[in-house]
């Protein structure tokens, strides 16, 4: 079981690095899908079955397809992107590394919370998550549907062409 955890951890870290390093955006998307699948493996190891399935459906099934669709639509599937200057890239790597060092330093002596030893194998099953979702967290659940509606309207508003400009060119005042 432990060996599976380290295997999934290595796969997710390597594919996450590849997402950042890949020149072609399509390769980045594929690497991110691999990363998400390995994270779904972590969920299964934690016995969070509901989340594992939702994660695969929502992320790999919907969000990454959306990313791939936009990349294909905008014809970006080639590495013509201008790179940031070397100084900026080195600064980004150093900043990320220092941030990681700070976080790891904070948990150097353990995470500081006593483990209560109340393991419950059924906590990630659909029944337990669903009961919690529809009793304790019912209001946030309903409010999130309003969030989705506004996101949908926002995406349509942003995506539609201006009426006065049939070429779909600049929106007045922006450019």
């Amino acid at each position: 079981m432990q060996i599976l955890f380290y295997l999934f951890a290595a796969v997710s870290i390597l594919s996450a690095l590849f997402v950042v390093a890949a020149k072609n955006p399509v390769n980045s998307v594929i690497a991110l899908i691999v990363c998400f699948l390995s994270i779904a493996g972590h969920y299964i190891l934690l016995n969070a079955q509901f989340l594992a399935v939702v994660h695969i459906i929502v992320y790999t099934g919907a969000i990454m397809v959306l990313f791939l669709f936009v990349i294909m639509l905008l014809n970006l599937n080639k590495s013509t992107e201008p790179q940031k200057s070397m100084a900026t890239r080195i600064a980004a790597v150093i900043a990320g590394g220092l941030f990681l060092l700070t976080l790891l330093g904070a948990i150097k002596d353990g995470i500081g919370i006593a483990n209560p030893d109340v393991y419950d194998g059924s906590v990630g099953l659909v029944k337990s998550v669903g009961t919690s979702l529809f009793t304790e967290y019912l209001l946030p659940f309903e409010v999130s549907s309003v969030l989705f509606l506004s996101a949908m309207i926002g995406a349509v508003m942003l995506g539609k062409k201006d009426k006065g400009q049939p070429d779909g060119g600049e929106i007045s005042g922006v450019a």
Partner: protein, 109 residues
């Protein structure tokens, strides 16, 4: 069910915390590293997922389904964010014919 509980217990919580930190740092560095707006959005997704993993690990170890419900809500918010973000990318491509994030400096004071 007892096998599963033993299996969850074999990996210490600290290792999940470390893995989550590494993924979050990679996402953060990547968001600063790249100029392609779509890659920056993907790095944001990476950071969301590291937080999700951490919440799930704590939830499983502490036997509280609340953490997993929060992961569910984070997934909902991430889906909405990606929808609007990609719409903005499409509009940006239409307006300035580029997805370079350095083009988005018109609101600079």
């Amino acid at each position: 069910m007892n096998d599963i509980v033993t299996a969850i217990r074999t990996v210490p919580l600290e290792h999940y915390v470390m893995l989550s930190f590494v993924l979050f740092s990679i996402g953060m560095a990547g968001a600063m590293f790249r100029r392609n707006t779509i890659i920056v959005l993907m790095c944001l997704e990476l950071m969301f997922n590291s937080v999700n993993l951490l919440l799930t690990a704590f939830s499983a170890h502490y036997g509280d389904p609340g953490g997993q419900v929060f992961v569910f809500f984070i997934m909902l918010v991430a889906a909405a964010e990606v929808t609007v973000g990609l719409a903005i990318v499409v509009m940006m491509k239409r307006n300035v014919d580029s997805v370079d994030i350095n083009q988005l400096n018109r609101m600079r004071g």
